[in-house]
């Protein structure tokens, strides 16, 4: 078991989980920074890609075997969540990727910023904040990056609906027009 494998990470930090289907390590948000620092020290010097993935609340159908030994289909509700995904590589050892995920709820989404560990997360975490609405604890400069500051909402969320006219802003013209339509102003 080389030092640069997910097994050594899971052995060092038993609270992290291995997601076989996604091929990723799920980090607990609380000590994500500690784990990241350990990873950097053990050779993962390059964090390539940072992004978010939004999952809505979904009903999942599952086949289970009940007590009587019969197969039946049950429906269970899977809570919505946002994953913040990190792709790590090692430039020194030329290996990778190691995929990390921080999992957080959709309401008041919060994750631990890994920018103090890898500077490459800086602009990308700002992008996740901007487009997914995830707050990063300890990010040195968390502002919107692609959308303008006054923009409301987070466009990459799956349930985002764009406003009818997102460039609308109150102007004197609109006020006068409304008054005119009410018969108050005669042009």
């Amino acid at each position: 078991m080389s030092k640069l494998s997910h097994e050594s990470l899971l052995k060092e930090f038993p609270e992290a989980q291995w997601d076989e289907a996604a091929g990723a390590v799920i980090l607990p948000v609380a000590n994500a920074r500690t784990i990241a620092e350990w990873l950097l020290a053990s050779g993962w010097d390059y964090c390539s890609n940072v992004t978010g993935v939004d999952y809505l609340e979904a009903e999942v159908k599952e086949k289970i075997t009940n007590d009587a030994g019969e197969t039946e289909t049950v429906t269970r509700t899977e809570a919505g969540r946002i994953d913040v995904v990190y792709h790590l590589y090692s430039m020194a050892n030329k290996t990778g990727p190691l995929v990390l995920k921080q999992r957080t709820g959709r309401e008041g989404a919060t994750a631990e910023s890994l920018t103090p560990v890898w500077r490459s997360c800086d602009l990308q975490e700002r992008e996740v904040y901007d487009l997914f609405g995830v707050n990063f604890n300890g990010h040195p400069d968390q502002r919107r990056i692609l959308m303008w500051d006054e923009f409301e909402g987070h466009p990459m969320r799956k349930d985002y609906t764009e406003p009818f006219d997102y460039e609308w802003e109150p102007t004197p013209h609109a006020e006068i027009l409304e008054k005119h339509q009410r018969g108050k102003v005669i042009v």
Partner: protein
């Protein structure tokens, strides 16, 4: 790892009331190569604070791609880095091919390498031209560069029908074979290209003005470059031997003999970044010579339907684009559309260290430093 701003005491000079000058450089400044803005604070001519502002060209490319089938977003990838549509296509095809497991025919693999290396020539030649333009040599060097670029764009047009928005790659191969006589014309171009490089190097590389303007300007240390995720020629100029064509050996790059130029990492200044690109063009010519000599006859695309439903999976495909590591992260959920589609833009991430490189320098140097990073706003803002 944030480098501290140098200590300026000018403000406290006795009897002199001074103040910092705030300049909003861009979004229409010609040196920003598009619509990019830098909020700069100046002490005289010295940069004491710099904040990049993004988003003027943002159209949420990722959301668009998540609402259409896999193949439909192929033409949109052309518009990311509009100088290098061929390599953008390849990175996306590489990521999607991991989902559907299709074999790419031999001839298509060779043509992919040929197109990618021609694209690298286009990118580097354009960058060097614009870089010299930023230095103040208006026109002539850029026109020399564009003359060569034009010849390559003609080849692209003959192969794909478009000069810049090529849309030439498909999952499992390429859209169509190159027309008759194309390979001969490409060989001729490749044979003549070194003569242009000789002339260009003779004109530029020892030019005294270029040396004094670029050497020791915008230094980037090896440690910061790696930690900040800098990739491509900019990383190698800071002394890291990391080229995905060698590391991942995607496609058939393991069959070609070429060298990866990188510096000893002493300075990592603008001159290094300029020179690395000149050297890389020579290596691209070498790869092109080998690929054009060995290319076999055969099919151009594997068996793939236009609309497909990959099994639920996650994949990350990356290539060595001319500007750095261009990656595509795809999540399939069993439908015809990607559930998540993410572009890892090298141009944006290479801008992480812009502030560190510019602080303490002159405002005129900030223009050169930005030019030497090599950004395209279509990719920065997506």
């Amino acid at each position: 790892m944030i480098t501290a701003a140098p200590n300026y005491e000018l403000l406290q000079q006795e009897g002199l009331e001074t103040s910092l000058l705030e300049i909003s450089m861009g979004p229409h400044h010609p040196s920003t190569h598009g619509v990019f803005r830098m909020d700069v604070k100046l002490d005289g001519e010295t940069v004491v604070e710099l904040r990049p502002v993004f988003g003027y060209l943002h159209r949420n490319h990722e959301k668009l791609a998540e609402n259409m089938t896999y193949l439909s977003s192929m033409p949109f990838t052309d518009r990311l880095d509009y100088f290098n549509s061929m390599t953008n296509n390849w990175a996306y095809a590489l990521a999607a091919e991991k989902l559907i497991e299709v074999e790419v025919p031999e001839r298509a693999e060779y043509l992919r390498v040929i197109m990618a290396e021609l694209t690298r020539l286009v990118n580097h030649v354009t960058l060097v031209g614009f870089f010299i333009n930023d230095l103040g040599a208006l026109g002539t060097p850029l026109m020399y560069a564009f003359r060569e670029r034009e010849k390559i764009l003609d080849l692209f047009e003959q192969a794909s029908g478009a000069r810049m928005m090529c849309n030439y790659f498909r999952f499992g191969g390429l859209r169509n074979d190159v027309p008759e006589g194309w390979l001969g014309r490409a060989r001729e171009l490749v044979d003549r290209f070194p003569a242009f490089l000789d002339e260009y190097e003779q004109l530029l590389c020892e030019n005294e003005i270029i040396l004094s303007r670029t050497q020791g300007v915008g230094n980037l240390s090896r440690e910061l470059a790696v930690n900040a995720g800098i990739t491509g020629p900019m990383l190698r100029a800071s002394g890291v031997n990391y080229d995905l064509r060698k590391v991942d050996a995607y496609g058939i790059y393991d069959r070609f003999k070429f060298r990866v130029p990188y510096t000893d990492g002493d300075t990592g200044d603008c001159y290094d970044r300029f020179m690395i690109r000149m050297l890389e063009m020579r290596e691209s010519v070498e790869i092109l010579k080998q690929a054009l000599a060995d290319i076999p006859e055969g099919d151009i695309i594997g068996k793939v339907s236009k609309v497909f439903k990959p099994k639920p999976a996650e994949t990350y495909g990356r290539i060595e684009g001319p500007k750095g590591e261009l990656g595509f992260y795809l999540i399939a959920d069993g439908t015809t559309k990607p559930y998540r589609y993410r572009v890892r833009p090298p141009s944006l991430i290479n801008l992480t260290v812009l502030r560190d490189m510019c602080l303490g320098g002159k405002i005129a140097d900030a223009v050169i430093i930005l030019g030497s990073i090599d950004i395209v706003l279509g990719e920065v803002d997506r």
